[in-house]
């Protein structure tokens, strides 16, 4: 069924209704813009339905310090973002920021991780961390197993329920007057007299600005407005267990316990094209990696496993760019839609609306991929 749009003229059309698109769309709508979100089919490849739920900073940015700063900027904004969503919608997204752990099974692994964190800290003193040996770690994570050398702790990290986040964004967006069009894949974008004309099935709509947040779909959309999005899928598999009593008060990179008691266990990084299935061998490996640091998980039941496709650029860093040939057309793509949601809503949106481009975004032009 093709939706007829409420009108054919919008201030901004956002292409893509995942976490990136909805965070931007909500930010636009609450700032008074007349916004339409054109979302794909229900069975589209949706990274935003498969997230692990970390709001993570530590270890990011070893090759690009601004990426660490950008992640930290968003993590710092997350509590306010979460409070805003909850006060508007009543949906608690379960954001917590107790700090997070990166566990190391072997001493040399711990030393390598500590060296990485020290390098980041020397370059940016807000990237704080501690190195904990096994006994210090056991005071914070009593469930930790005997075969763990230690961990890196950083107070910058947290976690959140990514599905509640998406639900809250939809509710807040619609309450702020935003319009959402499902099954509204955009087949063409052209510019016409300073505005953009989007083709959606048999319909056409016009918008003064357009934001491409279509994940892997940006690859074909971006060239229509003089932009480039060389993104590829990178599969992650995740498992979730039955609900158990609280045993883990902090998120770790591979294992976290939700507020409801489920244990999420992940994840893989597989270059398998547009295939979001799960595979027993990878799931078994993920389970082993979770049981090694937390042996008490051995007899906990898994209730679900899924695969999802990250949206990856060649260097793993985001692209935020306004077209030089089609001013008013913006591209936003990243693989950390959860961590960066707050920054997308509160920092990217003002830029889209005409504020100076934040200097934190300096490295994130697609021209870095041109040879």
């Amino acid at each position: 069924m093709q939706k007829n749009f409420n009108t054919s003229d919008y201030d901004v059309a956002v292409v893509g209704g995942g976490l990136v698109g909805m965070a931007i769309a909500f930010g636009l709508a609450k700032r008074g813009q007349k916004v339409i979100v054109c979302d794909g089919e229900d069975n589209a490849l949706r990274a935003a339905r498969g997230n692990f739920g970390l709001v993570w900073v530590q270890g990011k940015g070893t090759k690009c310090l601004h990426y660490a700063r950008w992640s930290l900027h968003s993590a710092d904004a997350w509590q306010g973002f979460s409070d805003d969503l909850e006060s508007r919608t009543g949906v608690s997204v379960g954001f917590q920021r107790p700090g997070g752990f990166n566990l190391a099974l072997q001493p040399d692994e711990l030393a390598t991780k500590a060296a990485t964190m020290q390098g980041l800290f020397e370059a940016e003193p807000r990237l704080k961390y501690q190195v904990l040996d096994r006994s210090a770690l056991a005071e914070r994570l009593p469930a930790i197993g005997a075969d763990v050398a230690g961990a890196i702790y950083s107070p910058n990290d947290g976690h959140v329920n990514p599905l509640y986040t998406l639900r809250a964004l939809f509710a807040a967006y619609e309450q702020a007057g935003g319009e959402y069009a499902p099954n509204a894949g955009v087949s063409n974008i052209s510019s016409q007299g300073g505005a953009f004309r989007l083709t959606v099935g048999d319909n056409t709509l016009h918008a003064a600005r357009v934001v491409l947040a279509a994940g892997l779909g940006n690859r074909t959309l971006a060239p229509m407005v003089g932009l480039s999005a060389p993104v590829k899928p990178l599969r992650g598999q995740i498992m979730v267990t039955e609900r158990v009593r609280p045993f883990l008060a902090y998120p770790t990179i591979y294992v976290r316990q939700t507020l409801e008691g489920s244990v999420m266990v992940g994840d893989s990084a597989e270059d398998v094209g547009f295939n979001d299935n799960v595979t027993p061998d990878v799931l078994a490996d993920i389970a082993r990696r979770a049981i090694a640091p937390f042996p008490i998980l051995k007899n906990v039941r898994l209730v679900r496993a899924w695969g999802a496709l990250r949206v990856m650029t060649p260097d793993g860093l985001p692209i935020y760019e306004e077209s030089t040939t089609h001013p008013g057309a913006f591209l936003a793509t990243c693989h950390s839609g959860v961590t960066l949601a707050a920054a997308h809503c509160e920092t990217i949106v003002p830029w889209i609306l005409g504020a100076d481009r934040p200097t934190l975004l300096d490295p994130f032009y697609a021209k870095r991929f041109a040879v």
């Binding site: 609900r243 158990v244 009593r245 045993f247 409801e260 008691g261």
Partner: protein, 102 residues
């Protein structure tokens, strides 16, 4: 056995009963029953409280779909009562909230 259950065991060809324990109380139940049916046939149907809100839950779909009949069976928590046939000596426990893994 006398009880106040709304459920009655249908007359059928039976191959006898087995003794199971529900929260340490022994019951003789038809050998053909599953654990959820045995719970329904023997008094208070609530077999657990939910993890988040603490609401009571009882067996509902009886076909392995709804997961409302989760109980501890022979020391293993969160087993589906409706998918588990009773066995002589089986120990069934109602569950309060989330299982412990400590």
């Amino acid at each position: 056995m006398q009880n106040d259950s709304l459920f009655k065991t249908l007359p059928r060809v039976t191959d006898g009963t087995v003794r199971i324990f529900i929260d340490d109380t022994p019951y003789q139940v038809p050998r053909s029953l599953n654990v959820a049916a045995a719970l329904l046939a023997n008094g208070s149907p609530a077999c657990r409280t939910t993890v988040v809100s603490g609401a009571k839950r009882a067996p509902f779909c009886m076909m392995g779909v709804c997961f409302d009949c989760l109980v501890e069976i022979d020391g293993v928590p969160n087993r589906q009562g409706c998918m588990t046939t009773v066995q002589d000596g089986m120990r069934v426990r109602r569950m309060q909230g989330a299982r412990s893994i400590a």
